[in-house]
Symmetry: C2
Subunit: 147 residues, 2 copies
């Protein structure tokens, strides 16, 4: 497959493919004599995976870890294991947050037309408490540590 086809099937821009390649997310495909990239069909799945993972809140750096982890080097089983476990814990936290939001949202909808107004917002109450320490630190700079 050529670039345009992969891009179309994966639902992304051609430039995006090249960008992922530069970032090391997408392995460099072999080239024809012309210099054209020649992708295997798996590439589409990989790109879609990247998009899904992103849509769910992972950064490209994290996606990269997931991918490398998925492609699992031969000997680094231990490392893969640890990383995977860490990611699973991360996922659990994310899922938990999403659940909490979901519950709050539904409660919000429920109480919405009952006491007309003046009900306090369950969303923020449910999720605004406690110090913020989300996932694995992306975007975080909690303690004001100099970056």
């Amino acid at each position: 497959m050529r670039t345009g086809q992969v891009a179309a099937e994966a639902g992304v821009n051609i430039q995006t493919l090249r960008y992922y390649e530069r970032r090391g997310l997408l392995p460099e495909p072999p080239r024809r004599d012309s210099g054209y990239r020649s992708y295997g069909t798996k590439s589409v799945a990989v790109v879609r995976f990247i998009k899904r993972a992103q849509g769910v809140g992972f950064t490209l750096a994290e996606v990269e870890m997931l991918l490398h982890l998925a492609q699992g080097g031969p000997t680094d089983c231990e490392a893969v294991r640890d990383l995977a476990h860490e990611k699973v814990r991360d996922l659990d936290r994310r899922i938990e947050s999403l659940h909490a939001m979901r519950v709050s949202l539904e409660r919000l909808v429920e109480t919405c037309d009952r006491p007309k107004r003046s009900r306090e917002c369950p969303l923020i109450e449910a999720l605004g408490g406690g110090p913020v320490a989300v996932g694995d630190g992306r975007l975080m700079n909690v303690a004001g540590e100099r970056s």
Copy 2:
């Protein structure tokens, strides 16, 4: 409370508060005669909520919707309802994806040291299929529509 205190308790930079204020995420607090902002304690919860929501994959634009929705204007109950439902569906999709990832990751770990190598990656297989249409369209430009 003054800016610095809110920032410290919420675990963000002062500038971030002002940024959120500019974006309309954080309501403009009253000012002292000196011009200093004077926040109520709820602000901390709001900021924390923003951070959580972000950490879980919402953009600030989405967070803004959630917040406005949470603060629920008086009459827009219908609209609030719809929006909330939509967000809940969005959350469900996210949760589903995370679950799938979770399962795949664990399968990956399991099969990791069993057949030494050559097992195919369940992560990408599980999540690389089908067209990408995550959540509510953030980051998406699926059909190659000219923007």
